[in-house]
Structure formats: structure tokens, C-alpha cells
């Protein structure tokens, strides 16, 4: 249906995309007692840090190997080794997630070899897991880096288990899910008596809570031993198309089969998810979710008046775009423009002519005849220039509170999303004035007094 087209511009204007090492670092932030480390110059980490801090309004553990021009040319092995030792000494992490950057990738630093040597040379690192993910800035987007990091974690840690527990499920949670989304999915799974292990789990580390003490690493998330024991689950639920590759990796590493859920937003998508949970557990769908389903139906009925035939211009990473755009279509809206950051096959199923891998300039141009813009906070400039409302989705949202707690999955999340967006559409209903319906010249002439008579 849709053509997935890459922008032909040489100059990206008002970027939508953020970098893959940043996405990988974000995945590592969902691991317990973890310190993500970017192997690059200090600016790479500094920019990523500022963006994450402003979005989550939380302290973010993120470190750098602080490459300079000399260490770049001579090779960054010493910097990487020093960084690992310093982090282990200062922050006492359980895991250091090493993300490469454009600089060190293009130079060709062999990070895996360094990690191996460091292991041999330094007994003091024995208690620290070191996981490396290749994320050159010049390839892919945030979502790709996130997926690569999850794949790397699975590859490094997951092993087959002697016994499978029929009640245990693995959940690979994509980068489009907030802390609140993960909590909601956890509740749904547990309501069927199943025991989920999330990878990664930002609901425990970036949910904005008050810790008892100051800690230099993440304050919660998936534990290393939990990833090691993922082989003991009966199946893996992969949430989001970009979790397919890590799910396959997990299946290869541990033999646990996976099932992909492309989205958990929207009535049919939620129905499908709960139906499968019911089949997996052999239990009926709990009354609570039957009630929520009925509330969602009501919300859809109340909301459809305002969504019908409205044109939406959406800019988001592929899996978030897919979830939001399909909900808009299900509510009767039209997709005026869909802009995304990287390739993803499912986007070809969207009901519009072209999905563009592009930037927010593309969004601005395409949104001229649209009613609502849906984009990260960077879309505010375009919305302002166009004089149209902006509903903020995705990352980063530096001018909004509570980003970790915005819920858009499950019946409850879908309902909340319909109400939020619907209310914004109500705020921007056209207000007719006395001059809204002028008569054409011909009509006015026809009605005029006949002077000739």
C-alpha cells in the first residue's frame, strides 16, 4: 500500500532522527545497576545525556571514553580500558554497556578484542558484565540502536535452561514503550497468572521515583541473572517489529520460541494480545479487562465524531508511528503525512501513498493541509509556523512533564490516547463567523433589486 521512500535531500533540516548509540544507551538504561558507555568523543555522551535528562527529568548514568584526535588516530583501546576500570571503581556497576560511535567505528577499533584483553588483565572486573553493541552514528536511528543493544544483551547473556517453566514468559519491550506502558503490560500478563521478565525494563529505572540513596548507576531494571535465565521461559513476547531480531536471537540462544506483537494500541491489537495470553495461560480474560474493553468501545464512540476525516501528520520512529497511525485510521482519521527515521517493513501496510524516511522539514511541508501534527517536541517550531496544534509523541519531549507515565497501550492506554488527542481536536474545532459562508457574486446579483425596472 504505502511506498517507503528515503528522502533525496543532501541536507537534513530539523532532524527527526536521533542517533543509534543513544538508542542503545537507552536500552542499557533499562538494565539494573548498569552504566552505558559510549566509545567516542565526550560530546557524543554529553549531547545524549542532555537529551535524556530533559526528557525524563531524571539523573542519567552515561559515560564516555573521551576520545581526542590523538587517541582516535592511535586507537582508542587504552581509553576504553581506562574507562572500564574507572567506571568499575567509581560506580560499582553490575553491567557496563559499551556502545560504539561513528568515530570509533570508522576508525575500526576492535572493541570485542579489547574487552577480551581487559578481562584477562584485570581480575577486579570479574563481577562486572561487559556487553558491546556496534552502533555507528552514520547508520540507523535510535530504534535500530535500541534493538541492536537488546540483541547484544541476549547474545552475551542468554543460555538454554534445563527446565522450562510454563508460567514464565519473556517480554522484549521495544523503545516505543514508556515506563507506564511496561507496567500496564506487566499487569495484563500477571492477571493471567503468568510471570514476565522484561528486557529491557525502564519501568524500574526511569519511572521517576525517589530512591533512598544516591547511586551512580541505574536504579533498577532487568538484572543480569534474569537475562541469563530467559531460557527457562515457555515463550517470548516481542513487542514491536524492531524486537523481532532480538527475539530470533533469543530463540537461537535458548530455544525459546517467540511471538511478535506489532502493536498494543487499538482495540483489535489489544483483543489479540489478551486472547493469546488467555491461550498461553489456559485462563479466561479477567473481568477487569472485559470492563476496560467496554470502556474503550464507549471512548471510541464518543471520540469518533472528532477524529472522522481529520488529516493527521505524524512523525515518529517506525514502531510508534505504526501504533499511532493505525489507531488514527481506526478512529476514522486520514493519514496526511507519515515521516519516519529508518526502514521497517510493516510501514508499507499503512493506508497512504508514501511513508518518508525524512525530517521535520518534510513534515512541515506535508502538513500544510493537515489538521493535527503528531511529533516529538522538536515539531513545535513547525506547528507554530503552520498555526496548527501539535500532539507530542515519541522522543524527545523536553517541554512536557511526566513522559515516563504516558500510557498508550492496552485498552486503558488506547482510551487515554483517544481522549487526549480528541480533546485537542475539540480545542481546534473551526469557529464559524458572520463571514464564513459568503454568497457568490452571481447569487447576490440575482437577489439584488432590479434597477432597470
Amino acid at each position: 500500500m504505502a511506498n517507503l521512500v528515503e528522502s533525496r535531500k543532501a541536507c537534513t533540516v530539523n532532524p527527526l532522527r536521533t542517533s543509534s548509540p543513544l538508542g542503545a544507551s537507552y536500552a542499557f538504561l533499562g538494565m539494573d545497576r548498569c552504566m552505558p558507555l559510549m566509545h567516542g568523543s565526550q560530546g557524543c555522551t554529553s549531547f545524549g545525556l542532555v537529551l535524556l535528562v530533559r526528557h525524563f527529568r531524571e539523573a542519567i548514568p552515561l559515560q564516555t571514553t573521551a576520545m581526542n584526535e590523538v587517541t582516535t588516530i592511535l586507537g582508542g583501546d587504552d581509553n576504553l580500558e581506562q574507562a572500564l576500570l574507572n567506571i568499575a571503581k567509581r560506580a560499582a556497576p553490575a553491567l557496563i554497556g559499551v556502545c560504539s560511535t561513528g568515530l570509533t567505528e570508522a576508525k575500526g577499533d576492535d572493541i570485542d578484542a579489547v574487552l577480551k584483553q581487559v578481562r584477562q588483565r584485570h581480575a577486579e572486573l570479574a563481577g562486572v558484565e561487559l556487553v558491546h553493541v556496534s552502533t555507528p552514528d552514520y547508520r540507523g536511528a535510535f530504534q535500530d540502536g535500541f534493538a541492536s543493544a537488546v540483541t547484544a544483551l541476549v547474545r552475551a547473556l542468554a543460555v538454554p535452561a534445563a527446565i522450562r517453566d510454563p508460567a514464565r514468559v519473556n517480554v522484549l519491550a521495544g523503545s516505543h514503550l514508556t515506563a507506564a506502558d511496561i507496567d500496564e503490560v506487566r499487569d495484563m500478563i500477571e492477571a493471567f497468572g503468568l510471570v514476565p521478565v522484561f528486557l529491557p525494563d525502564v519501568s524500574a529505572s526511569l519511572d521517576g521515583h525517589m530512591p533512598d540513596d544516591w547511586q551512580a548507576t541505574t536504579l533498577g531494571g532487568t538484572r543480569v541473572d534474569q537475562v541469563r535465565s530467559m531460557g527457562a521461559a515457555c515463550c517470548t513476547l516481542a513487542l514491536g517489529e524492531h524486537m523481532r531480531a532480538p527475539a530470533i536471537e533469543l530463540e537461537m540462544a535458548s530455544g525459546v520460541p517467540y511471538e511478535l506483537f506489532d502493536r498494543l494500541t487499538g482495540l483489535a491489537a489489544c483483543d489479540h494480545f489478551l486472547q493469546r495470553l488467555s491461550q498461553l495461560s489456559g485462563r479466561p480474560v479477567p473481568a477487569r479487562y472485559r470492563r476496560q474493553r467496554s470502556q474503550l468501545l464507549d471512548a471510541m464512540l464518543d471520540g469518533h465524531f472528532f477524529f472522522g476525516q481529520k488529516r493527521m501528520a505524524i512523525a515518529a520512529e517506525p514502531d510508534l508511528l505504526w501504533a499511532i497511525a493505525m489507531l488514527m485510521v481506526e478512529m476514522g482519521a486520514e493519514l496526511g503525512a507519515c515521516i519516519t527515521t529508518t526502514r521497517s517493513v510493516q510501514l508499507e501496510q499503512l493506508p497512504l501513498e508514501t511513508v518518508l524516511i525524512g525530517d521535520l522539514e518534510d513534515l512541515e511541508l506535508a502538513a500544510a493541509d493537515c489538521d493535527l501534527l503528531l511529533a516529538p517536541s522538536h515539531g513545535r517550531q513547525a506547528a507554530q509556523r503552520l498555526g496548527k496544534p501539535l500532539y507530542r509523541i515519541g522522543f524527545p519531549q523536553f517541554d512536557r512533564l511526566g513522559n515516563a507515565h504516558r500510557l498508550s497501550v492496552g485498552y486503558a492506554g488506547t482510551r487515554a490516547l483517544i481522549f487526549d488527542i480528541g480533546n485537542m481536536l475539540i480545542d481546534h474545532l473551526p469557529h464559524p463567523g458572520p463571514d464564513s459562508w459568503p454568497l457568490p457574486e452571481a447569487s447576490r446579483r440575482a437577489a439584488a433589486a432590479d434597477c432597470a425596472a
Partner: protein, 470 residues
Amino acid sequence: MDTRIAARIQDVFNEPACDHNRQKPPAERKKGCLKPLTPGAAAGGCAFDGAKIALQPIADVAHLVHGPIACEGNSWDNRHSASSSAQLYRYGFTSDINELDVVYGGEKRLYRAIREIIEKYDPPAVFVYQTCLTAMIGDDIEAVCRHAAERFGKPVIPVNSPGFAGPKTLGNKLGAEALLDHVIGTEEPAYTTPYDIALCGEYNLVGELWQIKPLFDALGIRIVSCIAGDGRYHEIAQSHRARVMLMLCSNAMINLARKMEDRYGIPYLEGSFYGIADMSETLRKLVRLLVQRGAPSDLLLRTERLIRVEEERAWRRIAAYRTRLAGKRVLLITGGVKSWSVVSALQEAGMEVVGTSVKKSTAGDKQRIRELMGGDAHMIDSITPRQMYAMLSESRADIMLSGGRTQFVALKARMPWLDINQERHYAYAGYEGMVALVAEIDKALSNPVWAAVRAPAPWDSREDGDGQSR
């Protein structure tokens, strides 16, 4: 590395006007202030970041970043530098190089990117920023810019400050060098007056320049060029005709100020808009220098009168808070010039500064702090977040003033915090700004939320009563 950048870094660091540098033995001087960074324990921006911060406020030009998506995609649209009209500087432009560009070189893509910008947005100039990766693969942005400028008949300015060249402060200086090399002195103003000044190191964050400009306007002083807050390309190209250069933000752009003096005979003075006494002193020094340079001498008297009225007005407004804020203890975590200029401001409001960071301060900055605070005791060279947390949670301070990245240390310790760094939302310059800062501190300290978040949950408070509360 590009020998041109290497030579330029040498030149920038061998800065005769920098007193920090002058105090070193001659052999050390050339090494400059590149403190080696500790891998795994570094925090701070890179040289690209510094150059971009210094020049991005030039509002009517396009700022094009040549590099992979991280450099611009992760950083654009994140500062509150305000513009009174032109908005193009708020756009994020990047060549966003891909894998093929890394293999074959990104120069052609850069050239096409410049062309697209000129065709679509027609700015008075395009600034092109070098980054680590494109520097490493050998893209010659100076050649591309020269070629594009000839081709399109428009200034295309190379800013050669790749991230791995050094820290943010170096980038500030390299950004200034780009202006000296390619912009300043390339155009002549229509007319000049004896009251013409240029500013450097002022970024007009949250519109702070507009807290100051009315004072200059009232005195008839004309800001012909501001580098770079609310700056315009043509104004900056004409800044060599100013009578006096006023340098803010300590030494960040001292190379610019000193070279303007060498090349065009424009004397500079170092000033600060933060703090009442500092504001007045800056005005005094500025008008004295203007009069020396030929401005009518009644300017001195008019300035004194304005200072008296404005100081009185500010004190009157701050006095309302003095009783509420007297004795409150402040922990000040910031860099360079801001440490001493804010210390004096807080003392003016009756508060006690229990510690101030001097990590980025020069010897001169530290001396000023010693004079203000009486000794070294309160100077903190480097402080870890854990130490900050301990200071706050043990109630050795009542409020922390710092940049956004450390705010959660304070908030998680359930202590008030105020943003005084570049991401702040309030303007704190001049007489107006100090009143605003004091008002903000009062607003933070008097908020009932502190009592509420410190009180234990009812099921946690047993007979030992104050066990949890602070």
C-alpha cells in the same frame, strides 16, 4: 590531524591576554589549558559543542553541521538564546552523512547541502561546522566552503572545531577564530557614532540582553554588534568599527577581544552583567573607556545618575526579600565567571554561600572568590554527585544553584534547586535580573512542597517520631 587546526589550537592557547596562561612558565604556556580527560569519568561538551554555542545565536544565518546524525540530531533546538526577529538559527541543518559518505568522503554531500539551504532559505550566510568523524576521514570543509561561496556569491563560513579537538571552552575560542578569519571586517557600516560598542561572550539566553539594553539605550550607547546573542550577520561583519569591545562570560572569547584590539585598535574590557555591583562597575568602566575614545564626557555623569537610580530601585525591590532570605545557605555549582559574579549577588541578598565550585575558574576568578568569601574554605575544585547529595541530605545547605544535569541530586535529596545554567527559563542579568534571581530563590525556598515531601508516610512515622524527617 589537520595541521591547520593544530596550529590554530596552539595559537588560541598561547593567548597573551589570558592571565591564567601568563602565570604559567613559558614552556607550559603553549600547551594551553587542555586538561587531559579521564575516560569513564568525564562530563562536559566537546569543541564542536563549544563552537556551536558561541555562534548559534547569530540569528539570521543557517548553521549547518557536517557530520553524522548524532552531532546535530541529538543536540539541536536545546538552548534558550533569544532573537528579536530572525528565526533561522533555530533550524537544525545537518549533512547527516551515511556509510557511503564515510567510505567515499562527505564533501560532495556537504556542497549539495549548502546549495539546498541557499536555494530554500536564502540566508545572508551559511556557517559550516566540522565534526570528529568528517575531520578524521579528511573532508576539507574550508575548500568546500570557499568553492560554495564563489559559486553562490554568498559567504559560507567554515568553523573548524571538531569535537575531539578538545573541550567546550576550546570550541568557544575556535568559533571566535572563525569570525575573525572570515566575517569581522568584511563589511563597512553606513555610519558610526562615538557611542558604538560591540559585545562578545553574550548569548542573550532567555533574552537577558534585553534586561541590559534599555540601560544602554537610555545612555545613548549603541550596541552595533553582539557576538553572538540576537546577532545578525551583517552587524558582526561590521563590528570592527565599534569604539569599545565589552567582553562578557570571562575568558571564553578573550582571543576575539584581544585580536580585535591588535587588528583594529578597539580596546576591550571585561565585564559582567550578573550582580548589582558588577553591573554598575561594568557600566562605569565601559563609559570611561568610551570617553577616552572620544565620547562626550557628560556620559560619565549621566551614567552615575542612572546607576544611582537603578541601584536604589533594585535594592528597594530586593529588600523585600532580605528578611526572608537572610542566613539561608547556598551551594553554588557552576563554572567559570558565574561563580564569583553570582556569589556577590547572593551576598547582596543576605545569603551565605557555603560552597562554590571553581572547576572551570581561572586564577583571577578564584582570587575574586577569595576576596568575596574570605579564604579558600568554600571553594570546591571538583565535587561528585554523591558528595553533593551528602551535603544536601545532611542539611549543610538550604538550596543548590546549578546546571540542569545536577538538578536531580538536589531534588532526590528533597532540597530546593534553581537552574542557573544555559537551559534556565528565567533571565538573571542586570538590575532586573538580580531582583528576579532573588525572587526565584524565595519562590523555591518558600514552596510548601518541601515540607510535604520530607514528611514520612503515616505508616512509617512511629513513636521515634523525627526519625525520617529533616
